[in-house]
């Protein structure tokens, strides 16, 4: 069985965000980049499946040259091959543009299960799983916290408000990983050494059937027109806690009369 894993290489969640000079993107200087944390669950799911059932794991991303570092990390953890659709020098693409580029690359790969994180950290749009499934005409389940294999397909437990949906789907299919699915492994030293020798296949958008002139920058279906720091919150109103009962009464009074939430 063959697996494809899509990853996003994103600013570390701990990174301090500074607004770039254009006022609509981040200042990338000093940003530390990481494989989006949810994609690690996706990668782990694919590698575990390969270990149990054989097959290959190919990891795919859309991004500039720096994303090769993220791909190599995935190779070090156990992926067999890596493909990057190059965005170097292009304007920003929105979810749809990225999905089209990824879908173009995936179509050329053997794929029984396509894995990705339920959302990319940073843009936090949570659109990629259903978009890719649609563009590739595959069934999908997103927000998967548990997965079992059955004949010809999978059973996925999907986290929703106040319940879990149990979803059955046949191969080929798309799985959107959520925290809880597994515990991602670290790369072994042997894996890191082996990954250094592997070649990352870099494809230009045109090679995967996408015209970046129609999907990026001012032609993206969704554009960021402004990026700003969130408005500062008012300073906290501290309630003295010497007498817990009095403090609690005062808090209830404020919540009821001032904030009007009780």
């Amino acid at each position: 069985m063959n697996h494809v894993v899509c990853i996003a290489y994103v600013p570390d969640t701990e990174t301090k965000i500074k607004i770039g000079a254009d006022g609509k993107s981040i200042d990338e200087a000093d940003v530390k980049w990481i494989v989006s944390p949810y994609d690690e669950y996706a990668l782990e799911g694919a590698i575990k499946a390969k270990e149990e059932k054989g097959g290959t794991v190919t990891v795919v991303t859309y991004g500039p040259a720096r994303a090769d570092v993220g791909l190599r990390e995935c190779l070090a953890r156990g992926a067999d091959e890596a493909v990057r659709v190059a965005s170097d020098g292009l304007g920003e693409a929105d979810s749809l543009g990225v999905a089209m580029a990824l879908a173009g690359a995936i179509k050329a790969l053997p794929c029984d299960v396509l894995w990705l994180g339920n959302k990319g950290v940073g843009t936090d749009a949570q659109t990629m799983v259903p978009m890719l499934a649609e563009l590739l005409d595959l069934p999908h389940a997103n927000l998967v916290t548990k997965l079992e294999w059955k004949d010809g397909g999978v059973v996925a437990w999907r986290e929703i408000e106040g319940a879990r949906e149990v979803v059955e789907m046949p191969f080929p299919c798309v799985v959107g990983a959520q925290k809880g699915l597994n515990e991602p492994r670290y790369a072994s030293l042997k894996g890191i050494m082996a990954a250094k020798k592997k070649t990352i296949a870099v494809k230009q958008p045109a090679e995967v059937g996408v015209d970046p002139a129609a999907t990026t920058g001012e032609k993206a279906a969704v554009r960021w027109t402004k990026l700003e720091l969130p408005p500062a919150r008012q300073a906290v109103k501290l309630i003295p806690a010497d007498d817990p009962a009095k403090a609690a009464d005062e808090l209830v009074r404020l919540l009821r009369d001032e904030a009007k939430v009780l």
């Binding site: 749809l96 936090d124 949570q126 106040g162 059955e168 960021w224 817990p244």
Partner: protein, 324 residues
């Protein structure tokens, strides 16, 4: 720009609150675009929902009523939405940013090859296009995003609990049955419900959350008592979940659920950036923590520096008294 179509989420024949919020927002958008307001609902045996939607201003209610739509499936419900789009030719589609909406809207966007403004916290119509704001980079920045004005369709998913729901001038509520065929490959075969009576954080209007400061699973009853008095859901920080003190379904934050309740009471939570990413848009935040330097106090509206095991029971009692 003209007609506005809103996707209505129902479960067991009951319309979810986030759908009324989206419908109210749709009515405001339609007033600006000068178009009609439509609603689309999918399920089985749901024909009677139209009057409720008309009360919020829906002129047309597109109903996809089929036995195979009894349980949610992305393929089935997207096909219903897509059929309504074909019938109503909307310029704008709104879908609540719930776990269902965030599943259906991107599939529709990809099918129609149009963009999607996801999980928006404000929505305006400017120069023939939708302009919205969204929280990005774990809540550390706010992006203004705009749809392509030339797009045949503009889609947005408004975040639940952010936009108010209110009835307006009643619409005609004309029921239009949708006829389409669909092959559902990813089938929901079962719904697993948690213990009865547990309110889910993602939908709760009030949340009481615990972190490392509750010291262990034996701390939850103290918080649950306050939940009970407030009618709040019980939340948890990543630290509490990773320690194995409570299940992941309670986790609020970057790797848990993103919530926007009216009231968020953080007990013994330091306020790591990943936690703030999940609850930063709460209307009122109360922080109870022993450490006066905890970052949570920077985000809080009200704070009490003290031992939560003394403060929280006192607060439970104070709420009980205030209700009496």
């Amino acid at each position: 720009m003209s007609n506005v179509l809103v996707f209505i989420e129902q479960r067991d024949g009951k319309i979810r609150k986030a759908s009324f919020e989206a419908l109210t927002l749709g009515r405001e958008v339609a007033a600006k675009t000068g178009g009609a307001l439509g609603a689309v609902v999918a399920g089985s045996g749901i024909g009677g929902l139209a009057p409720e939607l008309a009360a919020y201003g829906a002129a047309k209610v597109f109903v996809a009523d089929k036995p195979e739509l009894a349980l949610y499936s992305c393929e089935g419900y997207t096909a219903a939405l897509d059929a309504a789009v074909a019938a109503f030719a909307p310029a704008v589609v709104l879908v609540p940013a719930t776990s269902m909406g965030k599943d259906v809207a991107p599939r529709l966007a990809a099918r129609r090859k149009v963009g999607l403004l996801s999980d928006v916290m404000s929505l305006e119509v400017e120069g023939g296009r939708l302009v919205a704001t969204r929280s990005v980079y774990s809540g550390k920045a706010r992006a203004t995003v705009a749809a392509d004005p030339g797009a045949a369709l503009q889609i947005a998913t408004p975040r639940p609990n952010v936009f108010p729901a209110s009835k307006g001038a009643a619409g005609a509520g004309e029921v239009v049955a949708l006829d389409f065929s669909v092959t559902i490959r990813a089938k929901v075969v079962k719904l697993e419900m948690p213990e009865a009576g547990e309110l889910d954080v993602a939908e709760a209007d009030k949340i009481v959350s615990g972190g490392r400061g509750i010291k262990g699973p034996e701390g939850w009853p103290v918080l649950r008592a306050l939940c009970h008095e407030l009618g709040a859901a019980l939340g948890a920080s990543r630290a509490a979940v990773d320690a194995g003190w409570i299940g992941h379904e309670h986790q609020v934050g970057q790797t848990g659920k993103v919530v926007s309740p009216t009231l968020y009471v953080a007990c013994g939570i330091s306020g790591a950036i990943q936690h703030m990413a999940g609850m930063g848009s709460s209307k009122v935040i109360v922080a109870i923590n022993k450490d006066a330097d905890a970052p949570i106090f920077k985000a809080a509206t009200y704070g009490i520096v003290g031992d939560l095991f003394q403060i929280v029971p006192a607060l439970t009692e104070a709420v009980r008294k205030a209700k009496a």
